[in-house]
Symmetry: C2
Subunit: 385 residues, 2 copies
DNA sequence: ATGAAAGCGCTAACAT
DNA sequence: ATGTTAGCGCTTTCAT
């Protein structure tokens, strides 16, 4: 059937398994293994990019000389350098960053893992990170965990495999196990946590004033006359849920108000979760007269519901939220918030990481808290007499 | 002063320039060049990652065998494979994607250039792209042009240098020259335009129903009784500004309304630009009774202004916008929009790109238009009798 | 079934 | 100032 490509005999040829999905043959006569190449592979011969060797050949010099010229090394004649630079332009040369990185053991790439870019906080923080990255000669590889622990772990693995120089991470809602982070630490890859940090590991972190923000918002409600204050938190295991709850309790304590467990609700912070929590609150024997939602968006959803029921905001029920955005500002009534400056968080996080990369990860880990600001608006500002 | 590290003599040693920022010495006696290493460099000897060679040594076999075992090749004994896999686990091996990519000439990475993740459209489209990328074994490298042509060009260069397998791009507001895209085409790197496309180049594109959307919105205003319809476009050179303007004109024509240049305004679509454009409209001798803003956000800003002046929406002035988001839905009055399904756009764009990558960029370029949907809300819905 | 060797594109040490 | 060589980690021929 099949002729041996070496000795041209037909008799001794047998099939001998598969190689890369292709039938392999063996000729018993000349002891030769071979595969049939379908020769439509070669023509696709990609318009391969110009390399340093191409430049070297073109100029009749050594590749290393080209490299030196292109990298601004000192020991090279101005004449040669000019020629090389010109050739690079003529032949449309672009350095292969893969090769450079492999060689240098540094990629100049930072990996970022975030749960969801659609949350304005992350979008803004990310935008700022990108800016700084460009300015400092880094690239950014973003991965979305889509709020899934499994994907988050996968993302982390991928970025490590890409040999990013460092990692910025904000955990998904689901994340409760941190072995993937321990692995990163073990490999001595610099990492910085931001926003949704992990408190059981000793990593550098950039956080908000979660306690103070929560405290300020709740105290503000109290000063506006609220006494029955509801709080809509994120998932219970969430570190920032816990901290913000503490701020809430501290404010109540300071003003001698007893904590009522009925007013404390955990949630997934999904779109429209505010509606369900509002239902719960409003059906309590004594509905709250002030509500603090950890995600501003949820606070607004509650206000929409409240308005539907003709509840007067802020007089019958006041609302506040953590984190500012366009919606909070433009919605009516505009929402009182603790603004947590996503830009500054992104900035601090990436700067801290770059510093750690530069210092070979020898810096002691520290926690940087970005000061926030209470912005009082109509959703809570009662006309006091 | 300086002892020769080879012959230990002091007399013949002279300085001989710098190498990598360090003083170099030359010993005339033994003709030896040397540099003084400050020996704190070595200790930092990075906890380098396990390689395929480490595994090979550990098992006493050849690196190539390890590679075969790990890549599920057929010609390997099950016993060896098991041993290799176990060793990989024991030694915490992760493949170096840089090396793999360099070797294979494929990175499995897609580059994405967007103007601004803070625009909900891009955030959503990006999120969907990421999902699909993960599912199909690709990684995504996102770059932000921050609406700057210069940065966009830089981004494109960077991604090409990273040897991404393909490029998804949506142009910045500023972009009027497309040489960087021509360069990508010349290098035969697959590229797909989405949303803000470039019409002077023959590339695959994913777009919205810009004409139809614009037409539908304007016709809707007309059917609600508007006769003096203002339009707030993006930059004049913007391809989608032009198309949407055509849709606007077509709708007016169909209903026998004369186009009035006064009602056509170009803008940068920045935050708060809606306010200024509203000022302009309202100060016209005959202010419009209906306004279409290309960016929904700007429409909402106008409504805020209108409400401040006690203008009745939609009866005295109706508003519509292109593109839906939370804000449009929750603002009062809620905004009538042409929803353009960012998710679908992202999905179509990345799928088209992956197909092009698989087919070695041999596919003819096509333009895919994602059907949108008119969502009528209170900002334009008049009570007609 | 396995090993040896070449090569992806680049840089850096070592010569000269 | 420039060429030669080795090596980054991996895959893939080729040989056995």
């Amino acid at each position: 059937m099949q002729k041996c490509v070496k000795c041209n005999s037909v008799d001794g040829v047998i099939k001998s398994g598969f190689l890369r999905g292709k039938q392999r043959f063996y000729c018993k006569l000349c002891h030769f293994n071979f595969i049939l190449e379908n020769d439509d592979a070669k023509p696709t011969q990609k318009a391969t990019q110009t390399t340093i060797v191409d430049l070297a050949k073109h100029l009749g010099i050594a590749p290393s000389t080209v490299s030196r010229a292109l990298n601004g090394k000192s020991d090279i004649s101005p004449f040669t350098r000019k020629a090389v630079v010109q050739a690079a332009i003529d032949l449309d040369y672009r350095p292969n960053l893969l090769a450079q990185s492999l060689n240098k053991g540094k990629t100049n790439t930072i990996g970022v893992v975030i749960p969801n870019v659609e949350l304005p906080f992350f979008a803004t923080a990310l935008a700022r990170m990108q800016q700084i990255a460009v300015d400092t000669g880094y690239r950014i590889m973003v991965c979305h965990s889509s709020e899934s622990q499994a994907i988050e772990i996968l993302n982390t693995e991928t970025l490590i495999s890409c040999r990013v120089d460092g990692l910025l991470i904000s955990h998904s809602k689901e994340t409760t196990s941190f072995d993937h982070i321990r692995y990163v630490l073990a490999k001595d890859v610099p990492i910085v946590h931001f926003d949704r940090v992990c408190n059981e590991l000793d990593t550098p972190k950039v956080i908000h004033e979660d306690f103070k923000g929560s405290f300020d918002l709740v105290e503000h409600l109290i000063l506006q006359g609220c006494r029955k204050i509801g709080i809509m938190l994120g998932p219970e295991k969430f570190y920032i849920s816990q901290i913000r709850l503490e701020g809430y309790k501290a404010a109540l304590n300071k003003h001698g108000i007893k904590v009522n467990e009925q007013y404390i609700v955990y949630s997934e912070m999904n779109k429209n979760d505010g509606i369900r929590v509002f239902e719960y609150f409003i059906n309590l024997p004594e509905p709250p007269d002030g509500v603090f939602a950890m995600l501003s968006r949820n606070a607004i959803e509650m206000m929409v519901e409240a308005k539907k029921r003709q509840i007067k905001i802020p007089d019958e029920m006041a609302f506040v939220g953590f984190g500012d955005d366009t919606l909070c500002e433009l919605f009516e009534p505009s929402l009182t918030v603790f603004h947590h400056f996503p830009t500054k968080v992104g900035e601090a996080a990436i700067n801290l990481l770059i510093e750690n990369i530069d210092k070979k990860n020898m810096l002691p880990s520290c926690t940087k808290s970005i000061p926030g600001e209470l912005i009082v608006r109509n959703s809570s500002l009662r006309v006091l007499k």
